[in-house]
Every structure is written in structure tokens, then in C-alpha cells.
């Protein structure tokens, strides 16, 4: 996973709530067995509409998606995060994220920055008043800048720590393999196994 510190890029206002993972990436694209190459799948249905925000010239090279509450609801597909990353999105800003989506983001290196409802509205207004405006996201200080607007954002402290260092979760856990082995010896005998 790549380290994340600050990122500056064009902000994309997506004024919708409940952007579910079937919209972020329709299930037909989930048949692929690769981990990359999903950029064409991002919002595949919505992108067929010429007026969709990603089709507007000002936002074409955008990398900070600013979306409404309950972003990433629905399926657990991590492909949703991969599609955003493959397209070039580095940060999703929203007032509320679905739990599994937020978890997947932290594992795959996409920053899910949670802001308050009023601050989300301010960011949307700032982006609408100057289409193509840049947003600067500062992870260490947990601040988002857009023109003269500065708003704070929330991120899980442990996810922040890992993102800043680019740590791989599995290697971290493997340092404790002796504890896992010890735990395994204490499991009740009646627990089921799939193999018998």
C-alpha cells in the first residue's frame, strides 16, 4: 500500500445520498479476477448520462470525490474501492460512510474523509461556484482546504497511522503469530471444522 500524507486535486461534487456499491461498480464487472483495471467500471451506468458530473470537462481529471451521506452502502465488494482508485480518485469526502466500504478503503489505500453535514454543504457550494477548483486534503492535520474554506475531517486514528506509513495489515498481524497459536489451543473441542 502506498503512503498517504497530503493530496491536492480537482474536487468532484456528487450531490447524491446513498451512493451504493452497485452504482459505484455494477455487479457485471465483478466477474474479473484481477485487482486492477476497473477504471471503466466506475459509475458505469451513471457515466452513460452526458450530464453526469464525471462527464463534465471541469471534473474529468478530478481526484477528490465529495459525495452525500451513506456513501458505499450495500455489498461488501472491495471492487468499489479499486474502481475509484483505478479511475484516479484518491480521497472520498462524505458526511457518512457505510462501514464495510470505509473498512475496505483503509485497507486498499483510499482515504475516506468524514465531514459534518454543514461542512459537506459548504464544500459542495465552493465546488459549484468554481467548477474544477482544487481541494487540498491534509491527512496529518485532518483538514480539507478549498479556496478560502477550511474544514476538519474525521478518520479512524489507526487507519490514519497505517495510511501515513503505508503498512500492510497482514505483516503487522504476523508479528503476533505466537498469540494466534496460543489462542488456537484454547478453543473448545466442540467447535466445527469444514474438513470432516
Amino acid at each position: 500500500m502506498q503512503k498517504f500524507s497530503t493530496h491536492t486535486g480537482t474536487g468532484i461534487p456528487l450531490r447524491r445520498t446513498n451512493v451504493d456499491t452497485d452504482q459505484i461498480i455494477p455487479s457485471t464487472f465483478l466477474k474479473r479476477i484481477t485487482r486492477t483495471g476497473f477504471e471503466d467500471a466506475l459509475f458505469a451506468q451513471w457515466r452513460k448520462d452526458p450530464s453526469f458530473v464525471l462527464n463534465q470537462p471541469a471534473y474529468r481529471s478530478g481526484s477528490v470525490l465529495v459525495a452525500g451521506a451513506d456513501f458505499g452502502t450495500g455489498s461488501s465488494r472491495e471492487h468499489a474501492v479499486w474502481a475509484l482508485l483505478d479511475y484516479g480518485i484518491k480521497v472520498v469526502v462524505s458526511s457518512r460512510f457505510a462501514d464495510i466500504f470505509r473498512g475496505n478503503s483503509g485497507k486498499a489505500g483510499l482515504l475516506a474523509a468524514q465531514v459534518s453535514e454543514p461542512d459537506l454543504a459548504l464544500l459542495w457550494d465552493a465546488l459549484d461556484s468554481d467548477p474544477g477548483a482544487e481541494i487540498r486534503v491534509d491527512l496529518p492535520d485532518q483538514r480539507i482546504n478549498c479556496a478560502d474554506l477550511t474544514v476538519p475531517f474525521d478518520v479512524d486514528p489507526y487507519v490514519k497511522w497505517r495510511l501515513e506509513r503505508g503498512y500492510d495489515d497482514i505483516s503487522l498481524t504476523e508479528q503476533h503469530s505466537s498469540l494466534i497459536t496460543a489462542f488456537e489451543t484454547s478453543r473448545p473441542r466442540f467447535m466445527p471444522a469444514c474438513s470432516n
Partner: protein, 466 residues
């Protein structure tokens, strides 16, 4: 102060705890499917890792497989490659796999409980959000992403933070014709798609105690649709009766030990929840969704809402958008909505009791001319059982299609899809835009509402047939 069921199960699985870091949680059962696992296995290969506990891992072909013509090669080469990849991965990493057509194959959330692999007090994960289904047994069960799946494959643990707990109290008796599907749809409409965010929902109360295990699974299954991580129900005699004698359930002295432990898991009387919500069972009637998220629902007796009646501006905008997508006029009576197809199946409502309830409505009646009804059993065992009871004849005689087991039209990853602009009354779990096929319009309903709707061609309850 006592502990809740969720806290008890969590605490029994902590491998490592440290301030400022998530807990390292041991996973008792890891379910794997063809869609969310290829990249996890590839990750293992690239880093030279193995599957730590193949004996606690079970793989299933369920999401993208066809439900007809199983002996022919899969027509879609991309789906075929995904299935082939799962088979190769399971062989390479010694993971048990049930392939399509096998007698134990089915939707993994139907098969786990059926085999007795799902037991109270366990931690269960799967790269599928409807893993919450297994919470009906008092197991802490939740969906994970592919990176997390790789982590579980490699270490049999997950690094996670404890969930908040929400008590969902449902007391009283459900009226005849009202099922647990109506209860969960009514709950989601009440608390919203984000209402359960960060929580485990523990369903309690006399209405829950009176439910069968299968009805409980339907409720826990859709906890994710309220944004919750998991659903939970305390193990009781109904749970024990369901599990006793199943293939992987403990037997003899182990059963005595296990069942005593399971019953001890119920939340303590003085346990405190982070939130609480209450529904009166008697107030709940057959429910249906009219919009494009599962919280946009109303009783079948109601009508399509007027967006301007929503006080919240964002809800208003979402309703306008949803109605435009769904092709519905505000004020239309729900019972006047005509559908093109009916889907009975999925991990939500593809179990034997669901098929029995729908068959009872369809017995001696016919699916409306021109309407397509697809019946897809949740597992091969459900299929065999239904055929032994003659349910398949009832469906076929009524004019419905009778298929092999799989996820099928719930998410349209296989050829079972709803066409653009077509309207489907579906017993599945998500009414998102395009969920059942590009441009498809979904109304979520219970099995008996699905059956009555198939007969009349408009959204109906069995009472409308008299």
C-alpha cells in the same frame, strides 16, 4: 454491569488487545465465494503465504453460476474463468469447495446453517455483506472486503474494532400473513439505511422468540440494509432444536457442553446497549419498497409517496430521483403497481419455509399470463426437499420456472436478469438501481406477497386473492 450477547462473543475471540489499535479477533469460520476471493488468493501467492486454517474455510460457487443447464459449459467466458479460478485456488490451498450441481452446493448463507457449521458464539466472516444472516444463531457474523479476506486466509484473524450494540425490541404477535421479511423492511424504513451504522442489531422480544430459525435468518440477513455490521439473536431452545443432529453440530458429551455454553451467551439482564429501538409486532403489515434503497418502503396497503411530503431536503431529492428511476407517479396505490416478473429466492428468502409459504398461496392457482416467475431454491438440499414435498409441481403447474440453486436474479450476475425498464417483485434484499439487471426496477417483498403478486400481476397480498 453485565454484557450483551455481542460483547460476550467478541470478548471470547480476542487474540490480542492494545490501546489505540483494533482488537485482533479470531475467526471460527471463513466462507469464500468465487466473486470476492480471486484477488485474495492471488495476494497469498504473491507474498508466498498459505491458508492458515483450511479446515475452518469453506468455499462455494454461488454468485455468478447459471441456475439451468448445469451440464453445459458456462456460456459467459468471464464467469467461467472466475469459477475455474476458484476451483484452482481451492485445490492449490486445500480449501473445501462445493461446486455447482453438488448436493451440498447453494448460497453459502443457506448452506452454512443447513450443515450445522453455523453455531452460536462463533465468529463468521465472508466476502459478502449478507454474512449477517448467521447472526440468527447468536454468531457474530459479518461481511468483509477482499483485503480482509486475504488477512483471514493468512492469519485466521481479523483486526477490527468492537461494534456498538443496538437492541431492537419487537414484542407482541405478528398478524397472519405478516412475516419476518415485513418486520425487517418496516424496521429499515423506520431507522433508515444508515440507522444501524456501526452497530450490531440484537433482535429481542416475544415476536422474535416466536420466530423459526429460518424467519430469524431473514431478519438478520437484511441487518446490513440498515447499515449495521451484523444482526444477532440470542440462542434459545428454537436454536438448539434446529442444530441438534445436523452434520457438523456437536454430539454426545460435546453437545451437552456446547448447548450449555450457547444458552449462557444471552445478554445479561443488566447489560446496557448503546441504542435501543422498539417496534410493535401488531402494527406491522405486509411491506414493500417503492424506491431504490431498502428504506424507501411502505405497507402494501399504502401508496407511492409524494416527495414534497419529506421534510428533509435530501430525502426529498432522493425520493424524486427514485420515483423517476422506478417510473412511478406519486399517489399511486401500491396495489395498482403492475409487475413483469417475480423472483422467489436468494439468501434472504430462498429457504424451504419460504418456498412452502409461497407454494401454499400458488397451490391450484396460476401465474398471470405474460408474467415471468422464477423460483430459485437457496441450496440443492432445499431443492431436493421441496421436490420431495411436491412444491416444484405446484410452482411448475402454476407456470413458474423451477431452477437449480444460486444467487441468481438477486444480483443478476448470471443470465437470470430483469430487463431494462422491467418491474420485478422480488424476495431478495436490495432494490438498488440496476441491481437485478441494467435498468431493472425492483420491489422488495415477502414470499407470500411475491406469490400473490405473481397471480394477480399487481402487488398483492394473499388476502387480495379471496
Amino acid at each position: 454491569m453485565g454484557y450483551t450477547l455481542a460483547q460476550k462473543v467478541w470478548n471470547r475471540h480476542i487474540v490480542r488487545q492494545e490501546d489505540g489499535a483494533p482488537d485482533l479477533l479470531y475467526i471460527d469460520l471463513h466462507l469464500v465465494n468465487e466473486v470476492t476471493s480471486p484477488q485474495a488468493f492471488e495476494g497469498l501467492r504473491l507474498s508466498g503465504r498459505t491458508v492458515r486454517r483450511p479446515d475452518l474455510t469453506l468455499a462455494m460457487e454461488d454468485h455468478n453460476i447459471p441456475t439451468t443447464d448445469l451440464l453445459k459449459p458456462i456460456a459467459d467466458p468471464v464467469s467461467a474463468l472466475q469459477i475455474q479460478t476458484l476451483r484452482q485456488n481451492c485445490q492449490e490451498f486445500a480449501v473445501r469447495l462445493f461446486t455447482m450441481g453438488h448436493r451440498e452446493q447453494g448460497i453459502v448463507h443457506v448452506v452454512g446453517p443447513q450443515l450445522g457449521l453455523t453455531q452460536p458464539g462463533m465468529t463468521i466472516v465472508c466476502g459478502d455483506s449478507h454474512t449477517s444472516t448467521h447472526g440468527a444463531f447468536g454468531a457474530l457474523a459479518f461481511g468483509i472486503g477482499t483485503s480482509e479476506a486475504e488477512h483471514v486466509l493468512a492469519t485466521q484473524t481479523l483486526s477490527a474494532k468492537p461494534f456498538k450494540t443496538m437492541a431492537v425490541n419487537i414484542d407482541g404477535d405478528l398478524a397472519p400473513g405478516v412475516s419476518s421479511k415485513d418486520v425487517i423492511l418496516a424496521l429499515i424504513a423506520q431507522i433508515g439505511t444508515g440507522g444501524g451504522q456501526g452497530y450490531v442489531l440484537e433482535y429481542r422480544g416475544s415476536a422474535v422468540a416466536a420466530m423459526s430459525m429460518e424467519a430469524r435468518m431473514t431478519m438478520c440477513n437484511m441487518s446490513i440494509e440498515a447499515g449495521a455490521r451484523a444482526g444477532l439473536i440470542a440462542p434459545d431452545q428454537v436454536t438448539l432444536d434446529y442444530l441438534r443432529g445436523r452434520k457438523h453440530a456437536p454430539a454426545g458429551q460435546d453437545w451437552e457442553e456446547a448447548s450449555a455454553y450457547w444458552l449462557s451467551l444471552a445478554s445479561d439482564a443488566d447489560a446496557r446497549y448503546d441504542a435501543e429501538v422498539t417496534l410493535r409486532a401488531a402494527d406491522i403489515s405486509p411491506f414493500v419498497t417503492w424506491g431504490t434503497n431498502p428504506a424507501q418502503g411502505t405497507p402494501v396497503s399504502g401508496s407511492v409517496p409524494f416527495p414534497e411530503n419529506f421534510t428533509d431536503a435530501k430525502e426529498q431529492a432522493a425520493a424524486e430521483r427514485a420515483l423517476a428511476y422506478m417510473g412511478l407517479e406519486p399517489g399511486t396505490l401500491i396495489r395498482d403497481i403492475t409487475v413483469d416478473s417475480v423472483f422467489l429466492g436468494s439468501c434472504t428468502n430462498g429457504r424451504i419455509e419460504d418456498l412452502r409459504a409461497a407454494a401454499e398461496v400458488l397451490r391450484g392457482r396460476s401465474v398471470k399470463s405474460g408474467l415471468r416467475m422464477l423460483v430459485v431454491p437457496g441450496s440443492m438440499r432445499v431443492k431436493v426437499q421441496a421436490e420431495a414435498e411436491g412444491l416444484d409441481r405446484i410452482f411448475l403447474d402454476a407456470g413458474a420456472e423451477w431452477r437449480f440453486a444460486g444467487c441468481s436474479m438477486c444480483l443478476g450476475m448470471n443470465p437470470d436478469q430483469v430487463g431494462p425498464g422491467q418491474r420485478c417483485a422480488s424476495t431478495s434484499n436490495r432494490n438498488f438501481e440496476g441491481r437485478q439487471g441494467q435498468g431493472s426496477r425492483t420491489h422488495l417483498v415477502s414470499p407470500v406477497v411475491a406469490a400473490a403478486t405473481a397471480i394477480r400481476g399487481t402487488i398483492s397480498t394473499p388476502a387480495d386473492l379471496n
